[in-house]
């Protein structure tokens, strides 16, 4: 399972890429493999307030709908519109074109509480 070293990880299987004061968020390779064929992504609204560990988006596979949680608190400033036409990007490029949204972080400190790649690798075994 691919777990890039330059990202931080939430226990609920979202990844975070820090880009200045913003955090780009998606779900991990492990998560997409567990969810299987993604057929719909319910994106958050631009401007929505996100609270760390609260539900912010939904990823749906053929079989089930799964909640996606905000790994850090902040404001949604960008969403991945490409997923509306091609939700399978979450499966094929979970760490790349399959990103889901970007948050302007309330504070850079919360990221430090997330796992690093080694910690997340340990979590998923």
């Amino acid at each position: 399972m691919n777990v890039p070293d330059d990202l931080r990880y939430a226990e609920s299987h979202e990844w975070v890429r820090v880009e200045g004061e913003n955090a780009r968020v998606g779900i991990t390779d492990h998560a997409q493999a567990e969810l299987t064929d993604v057929v719909y992504v319910e994106l958050p609204k631009i401007g929505a307030k996100a609270t760390a560990k609260n539900q912010i988006a939904v990823v749906e596979s053929v079989k089930a709908a799964s909640d996606i949680y905000a790994p850090v608190s902040g404001t949604v400033v960008e969403v991945n519109k490409a997923l509306e036409g091609n939700p399978a990007l979450v499966n094929t490029e979970p760490f790349g074109e399959g990103w889901i949204f970007v948050l302007k972080m309330d504070s850079a400190d919360e990221v430090k509480q997330l796992k690093d790649a080694a910690g997340y690798r340990q979590q998923i075994g």
Binding site: Y40, V58, V62, K63
Partner: protein, 366 residues
């Protein structure tokens, strides 16, 4: 539920070896998918796929009066069955509610094989046993048998590769025994996908050998091992009900649109009065099929169904249809709103999304 409490079919090791994703399904641990639900679904629609159905139950009734007795326990008419044929039928409680849906085969003039849902084996057996009296013998043979559903347009090629080109295959709803390398295969031309196909039963100890032979012989035909995920999307496109989701003791077969499998001309069977009444007066609710009118989140069980601001029912099955690439489902709605063509709304989280009631089945072979 702990892993230890889960029952494994005789093919468990084969599923794990093939990299299947295993999930709890009632008391069982079963493969939900191998290569992917959509890939497996398409394999069955275009080529052929094989499903482990060893978890399903087999009850065997024998005796001179067994047929007449079963005719009082089940809704369809067993007198229509010649030896070597089967029919879809329902087992009801005294209130006409559905305990189980099943296929009953007359394997010999006085022998009947009932293939029942995995989650209902014990309940079905207890209910039947309670009513058996001195009408014959009833055995629960579920643990003795392994079973496979092999489904898809290339089924005949596959079977001929297994048992020879001169073997006369059973016609639709027929059941026959064949020999495969010393193993007795009981092959029924039935299925749960809407494709041509068979369900095959054999001694549980032979399961791995049969499974691997089918995958090997099917290689050139594009065969896929298929899990519960594609089994569900395939049956939903055909609007075949799933017990526990679309069927339950709270609903009778008339509400579920299964009147075709209820013979009210029979003078007596469990639930008959309730069904005759339901047929005459109509039922409060009907199980309808619907299609989402736009791309969006697929419908799911328990979502509310609305029409013109009124909540008219609840979704019982829902998914993205891999064949149609749109959201489809079934729902019980108030009978007044159950007409084909009726515009409805499905409540998904905080939104109400447009859908339309469609004729069953939702998928028709082109």
């Amino acid at each position: 539920m702990t892993e230890a409490a889960q029952k494994k079919t005789p093919l468990y090791d084969e599923h794990v070896r093939l990299g299947a994703k295993m999930i709890p399904f009632g008391d069982w641990i079963m493969p939900v998918q191998y290569s992917g639900i959509i890939d497996e679904h398409q394999a069955v629609r275009k080529n052929v796929g094989v499903f482990d159905i060893s978890h399903m139950g087999q009850l065997v009734a024998t005796g001179q009066r067994a047929g007449a007795w079963l005719n009082e326990m089940l809704t369809n008419n067993i007198d229509k069955l010649e030896a070597g044929t089967g029919q879809y039928t329902l087992l009801l409680n005294d209130r006409g509610g559905i305990i189980d849906d099943l296929i009953v085969y007359r394997t010999a003039p006085e022998t009947f094989l009932l293939v029942v849902n995995a989650s209902r084996v014990d309940e079905d057996f207890a209910w039947l046993q309670k009513h058996l009296g001195d009408n014959g013998t009833l055995e629960n043979r579920s643990a003795d048998y392994g079973g496979l559903a092999i489904q898809g347009p290339r089924i005949v090629d596959l079977l001929q590769a297994m048992i020879g080109t001169d073997a006369e295959l059973p016609a639709r709803n027929q059941i026959k025994d064949f020999d495969f390398e010393g193993i007795k295969l009981t092959i029924a031309r039935t299925g749960y996908t809407g494709e041509d196909g068979v369900e095959v039963f054999f001694a549980a100890r032979d399961a791995a050998k049969v499974w691997n032979a089918i995958l090997e012989k099917g290689k050139d035909l594009g065969i896929r091992p298929c899990g519960l995920g594609s089994r569900d999307t395939l049956r939903l496109e055909m609007c075949y009900p799933l017990n526990g989701s679309d069927l339950s003791p709270e609903h009778n077969p008339i509400e579920a649109g299964l009147g075709f499998f209820v013979d009210l001309k029979k003078p007596k069977f469990v639930g008959r009065e309730v069904l005759a009444d339901a047929k005459e007066k109509g039922t409060a609710n009907r199980l309808i099929a619907f299609r989402m009118k736009s791309k969006g989140p697929p419908p799911r069980p328990h979502y509310s169904v609305w029409r013109e601001g009124e909540r008219i029912g609840e979704v019982t099955s829902g998914s993205l249809s891999p064949s149609l690439n749109e959201g489809i489902g079934m729902a019980y709605v108030a009978a007044a709103h159950a007409k084909v063509g009726t515009e409805i709304e499905i409540e998904v989280r905080d939104r109400k999304l447009p859908a339309v009631i469609e004729k069953k089945p939702l998928y028709k072979k082109s």
